[in-house]
Amino acid sequence: MGNYLLRRLIVAVPSLLGISLILFVLLALAPGDPFGELASNPNIPPEVREALRVKFGMDDPIMVRYVRWLVAMIHGDWGFSFASRVNVDTLILQRIPATLYVVGTAQLLALIVAIPVGVLAARRPYSIFDQIANTFAFIGFSLPTFFTGLLLILIFSVNLGWLPFVYRADIQATGWMWWWENFKQAVMPVTVLGLYQAASYTRYVRSAVLDVIKLDYVTTARSKGLDESKVIVKHVVRNALIPVVTLVALQMPTVFGGAIVTEQIFRIPGIGSLLISAILANDTPVIMAVTFVFACLVVLFNLIADILYGWLDPRISFR
């Protein structure tokens, strides 16, 4: 096991290098340049744009730029944003709290809702409860977040006036008021994201539980006279968790990566909004840093998922 882990971690290094190379080349080839806004301004002579391109080393061959980036990255220098001329790590650090808070809570909410609902729905498939749960799930993933977000804003901010819809990272209040304000402004984004996520989780959990609930060993466990809740938790859920773990492992990196659309709607200063504005402004160093950290997390959580599979089902061997 330890051996396996070590081997996987060692393999992770070249695989991340490969990913970073591909990301870099892709971003370099992608159309657009960071000085587009300057281009449509007649007041700014083209020489200034040329000078900026040279200054930011954008006209060098891709490989030269990649090696330069990699060496700097190894030394802990993440580069600086073309748009704000601020160091990229500073920018990312500024954005992490809001993302962790909103997206993290939403993921947690999704899991807390989805697992019990999915299990209960699967226990009695096609019961009233199951039907209701399903219908909500369908609504959940057939309406995009840009739409549900706006709907909530119209109801709770515009009509009722209960909640603010502009998220602020710098709330002035102190003590309980600070907590209250932070809670209030997070309610809508967390709901939108959490329910969208919960909708698909519920469907997966339900399906996974249905796959095992009819298996013989469950019947055996029941016939042994085990308590129903114990059967469900110890025998059914644990075995049904493999797809769920896979999905959660897939979603965890987005807790860092943020949720682009939702962050945009509620103006949450998270990583997602940083990424999208960087993409729209072709601010390559920022895009590269964010996606690379994201890639590291993807690889890491994939590894964690593999290890969890072994724990959930000891027969899965590590080779």
Binding site: L38, S40, V86, S277
Partner: protein, 597 residues
Amino acid sequence: MNERDLRSQIADVKTGRLSRREFVQRMIAVGLTAPMAGAMLAHSGVVQAAEPITYKPTKAGGGGPLKLLFWQAPTLLNPHFANGTKDQEASRLFYEPLAGWDADGNLVPILAAEIPSKENGLLAADGLSVTWKLKQGVKWHDGKPFTADDVIFNWEYSVNPDTAAVSVGSYRGIKSIDKIDDYTVKLNFKQPTPFWADPFVAAYGLVIPKHLFADYIGAKSREAPTNLKPVGTGPYVYVDFKPGDSIAAKRNPDYHQANRPYFDTVEVKGGGDAVSAARAVLQTGEYDYAYNLQVEDEILTKLEAGGQGRAQLTVTGHIEYIALNTTDPWTEVDGERSSVKTKHPFFTDPAVRKAINLLIDRASVQKFIYGRAGVATANFLNNPERFRSPNNKFEFSIEKANQILEEAGWKKNSSGIREKDGKPIKLVFQTSINAPRQKNQAIIKQAFQKAGIEVELKSVVASVFFSSDPANPDTYPHFYCDMEMYQTTMPQADPQFFMNQFTSWEVSTKENKWQGRNISRWRNKEYDETYKQASSELDPVKRAALFIKLNDLVVQDNYILPEINRRNCIGLKNGMVANKSGWDNDLWQIANWYRET
């Protein structure tokens, strides 16, 4: 409209037969800017009559927080690096220029003690120099005095090529600056400069302190801590800045204008989209001001019905226009399409261009898309009569267009598309992705279809369309299609830079990596010569007449079809009083903003 017409109108202003404001509006209608109109009047001896800026509070402070919402978030606070207006606006909280432009195009002193003019002797008759007297007793936020050294430093800072400042366009015409005394500077220009009020004025004229930036000139410019923590002379003092998200500022207790500013703190929030920004000001009143509300008028009106705020519109020089390609976008010559060596297959026929012009339903576009935020432009100046009737509408007539095409020999073929000599009128029409533009495309396409012209619509994401990437064929300067539409901005008070976009040396080609500004590749000898004349003409009236001629030369050839003169729209919460100008930033008078109780 020629020089004589202009002179007679100026005479009318002098005698009071024509109001100053109306004169300015007429000049805008011919494609000139308000500041140019102001310059003409000043030159002809009509006194600068800048309307005093309304400000009622009798003491500084006490206004509570001022909450500003920018859907495009400011990313940096050094005005010399401003990537766009959002950064300029944000810098305006902390930094100030020597003077700004008001809505009627008058120069209003801010850090200057007075505005240079021929009368006060500060403006040289040969156009080679101008002298600025600085306001005394102005302090930077750290307590150091503001002096002539700071002004000189900004010029040095900006023109240093290693600084890579975006403001360099305004400063590179300066040969040297003489320090007359601590509060007087004399700018010497490299050549006679009719538009002397460019450096140190308005958006690109914000002055940064020498004592904090002197160590960070040139290649080190990025490392200056004050890039993110501004120390200026402005009405508000820096508290906090998160790039791309928010700015916090507090009142400057030592501000150089008495009883100002009114608000105790300023909170700037960035991000999101324009519609929800409008919502936050007009409908829920969460914010006091929203920037650049590019929102359909229909939605704005509904939101205003919420009763919390209103949209305020100001005239600008921005023109939404359609360009027809003079070259052939579908034939590759020497590795580039739309090469100047080719000719467009059917736009070369003036009848086709004329018909197309008749098929653009400007009135409906104005009425149903832009509403208050755009006016179908009256930039067709065929004669003075039209000019005298500002309500003159463009002609939109499918029948006439059909008739013209029919007469010119473009007959409908079996599939209903007009063709001549085997060349059908089929065209690709591109623009950037932006809801009003897509609707505009749909309206145009429908009219074209009715006249037997087939249109394929194409929309390109704005970050690609407006980029200067030489490798991407979808950018607007490549113009690899028949027809395109976008807004050409007039960020400057003077149209000289603006009008160079139709000179033959600005043609966008592979050779200049598509950096040239002449997108339609329209070339005209007379235009080139008139332009050269205009750029050295010192008499503002003669110069204005030349610009009007330039304008007429372009639009009468029907390759360039102006459509809508855009208005700048901001959202203001009820009670907010904000002096606004279309020739300067929204926040140009932020010190004088206040809330009526």
